[in-house]
């Protein structure tokens, strides 16, 4: 399977990654190679095999519904670029 430049641009946009124009061809080739590598799996007959959702074949462990966390806002907000009235501030996201 081969990705073109346009698909690479779309993937980059969805991941919010900025990539240089001259690097796009390389990305297209490398990503296509990865897809080809994984593509080998489709040669195997998997009829009747339940797809795994996780490499570990175990069920999810559950925790009891209890509040175990205390307020650590001050600690967490030390690494935030901007806070006000307890809120994290980010560049405005709507007009």
């Amino acid at each position: 399977m081969s990705l073109d430049i346009e698909q690479v641009e779309k993937i980059a946009w969805l991941a919010r990654l900025q990539i240089e124009a001259e690097a796009k061809a390389d990305y297209a080739r490398n990503l296509s190679d990865i897809l080809d590598f994984v593509e080998q799996l489709s040669r195997i007959d998997t009829t009747g095999v339940t797809p795994m959702a996780h490499p570990q074949d175990l069920p999810q462990r559950l925790r009891a519904d209890e509040v175990t966390e205390s307020d650590q806002r001050e600690l967490f907000q030390q690494v935030a670029p901007a806070v006000e009235n307890g809120l994290y501030l980010v560049p405005k996201v709507i007009e």
């Binding site: 969805l14 919010r16 959702a53 996780h54 570990q56 175990l58 069920p59 999810q60 462990r61 559950l62 925790r63 009891a64 519904d65 209890e66 509040v67 175990t68 966390e69 307020d71 650590q72 806002r73 967490f76 907000q77 901007a82 006000e84 009235n85 307890g86 809120l87 994290y88 501030l89 980010v90 560049p91 405005k92 996201v93 709507i94």
Partner: protein
């Protein structure tokens, strides 16, 4: 052309757990911003989600209540998108393998008929935080207290054909989740909200028209109005040669209109994939049976029972079972007044509900307890007071003036059941109204009511109406002696 409306709803019910779906942070409403957002909710590096057992039980209970299969194995997936109130850059949700599969629900239509609405699925997911766009010059404030709050998203089939049907379905789910105790149903606080998928098609056409999705409807009134507006808008577009664009729209209650939220170029591409941080959720048949045994009596079954066992009308039974709390209040009153279902039903759905509604109170905030109301109605049953005087006593109880017996004694409201006292009074009234007495004897039966009124007036409503009737008939018409009094 005649158009047919097609509606499907996605309801988000916030599950009433103490802690979040994947972390031990509190879900209590109204805390200071970000004081209930822990490292997991913030999506800090190195953290891992651990699933809350209670959400699994709650989703299972819901599945059983809508006749759905509870999946023995379900899988959490990442729904990827960027927004500042979603710190991880993905929402943990369920995609291909939801916890609750196909189910159904019966709704009552306005014409009294019933209709089955299909439930496509219900899945577990985490809520996002809140963005506050005002108050910060050029910035948006983010509160992540709500991030990680457990939600059950209930997806319906496109089975509804009018805004009213959509509202009936939503109300039914709203009642159900509260009976199950899995959601507090508080729409103001956003615990229960829905998105509506709306399309129109020429009547008779099988293929669905292009739909729009109206987001975040959090009141029954808004849902009805938003859908009504959107249907009109789509029909206008199609009838003037335009096309409906598949998009997300937001309802603005101030302008009573929907408007486009996101443009088409940014069509969502969520790239779902199984979340490697979480293993598949396995639910055993034993667990499902255990949850089934713990299910409370569900609203439809309770309503039926009120009709068949208590002899209530379908209408009264519907009113009384519309909320679990109200039905339990009714049952608590009835427990102390065996055999008086009709009287209790009239009082709970009439006087009591009317008063609560007028003062904007919930049944839980009712100043008159079930036991107090039973105390009052017992005095009606034993003829100490009439139904009319009971309303006066009820008002005094509401105002906190004491129990029914205390108020009856303090205000001297005890019914006059002493025949001797009434006898004399009635003789006086007959003597004072010779003309009316004559006409009544001549066959003008309606005048009996006039005399009853006079007696009630003279006793300030304290005479027993049944006894007054009987005495009057006896004195004026020479009958009534052997008729039962009420």
């Amino acid at each position: 052309m005649e158009w047919e409306t097609v509606i499907g709803l996605e309801i988000h019910a916030q599950l009433a757990t103490k802690s979040k779906i994947f972390s031990g942070a509190s879900t209590a409403y109204g805390a200071e911003p970000n004081t209930q957002a822990c490292a997991v909710d913030l999506g800090l590096p190195g953290v891992l989600p651990v699933l809350n057992a209670e959400v699994v039980r709650m989703a299972t209970a819901f599945g059983l209540a809508v006749d759905a299969e509870v999946a023995p194995r379900s899988v959490f997936a990442r729904k990827n998108y960027f927004y500042p109130d979603l710190p991880k850059g993905y929402q943990i949700s369920q995609y291909e393998l939801p916890i609750v599969k196909t189910g159904k629900l019966i709704i009552a239509l306005e014409n009294g008929e019933e209709k089955e609405i299909g439930i496509t699925r219900a899945h577990l997911e985490e809520d996002a935080g809140k963005s506050l766009h005002e108050d910060f010059a050029g910035m948006t404030g983010i509160d992540l207290n709500r991030a990680g709050t457990p939600l059950l998203e209930i997806v319906s089939e496109p089975d509804m054909r009018s805004a009213k049907e959509a509202v009936a379905y939503m109300k039914k789910i709203h009642t159900l989740v509260q009976y199950l105790g899995i959601c507090d149903g508080n729409m103001q606080e956003g615990s229960f909200r829905c998105d509506a998928n709306v399309s129109v098609r020429p009547r008779g056409e099988l293929a669905l028209g292009t739909r729009t999705e109206i987001k975040n409807l959090n009141s029954f009134r808004f849902i009805e109005r938003a859908i009504a507006f959107e249907v009109e808008r789509q029909i206008d577009l199609l009838e003037t040669g335009g096309e409906v664009v598949q998009e997300t729209r937001l309802y603005d209650p101030d302008r009573d209109e929907t408007r486009s939220m996101r443009s088409k170029e940014e069509a969502n591409d969520y790239r779902y994939f199984p979340d490697p941080d979480l293993l598949p959720v396995e639910i055993s048949a034993d667990f499902i049976e255990k949850v089934r045994l713990e299910l409370p009596e569900l609203p439809d079954i309770k309503r039926q029972r009120f009709v068949t066992e208590l002899g209530l009308s379908a209408y009264d039974a519907g009113l009384l079972t519309a909320s679990r709390a109200l039905s339990e209040y009714f049952e608590a009153v009835l427990a102390e007044l065996e055999g008086e279902a009709k009287l209790v039903a009239n009082w709970v759905s009439g006087e009591l509900s009317g008063r609560l509604h007028k003062e904007g109170l919930e049944i839980a905030q009712c100043p008159v307890s079930a036991s107090d109301l039973a105390g009052l109605l017992a005095r009606v049953v034993d003829d100490t007071i009439s139904g009319k005087i009971a309303k006066e006593v009820f008002a005094a109880m509401w105002a906190g003036e004491g129990s029914a017996d205390e108020i009856i004694a303090a205000k001297g409201l005890k019914q006059i059941t002493d025949t001797g006292a009434l006898d004399a009074l009635i003789d006086e009234i007959i003597a004072a109204n010779p003309n009316q007495a004559e006409q009544l004897r001549a066959g003008k039966d309606k005048l009996l009511g006039y005399f009853v009124g006079q007696v009630m007036k003279a006793t300030q409503g304290k005479a027993n109406p049944g006894m007054v009737n009987q005495l009057l008939k006896q004195k004026l018409l020479g009958s009534g002696k052997h008729e039962g009094s009420s």
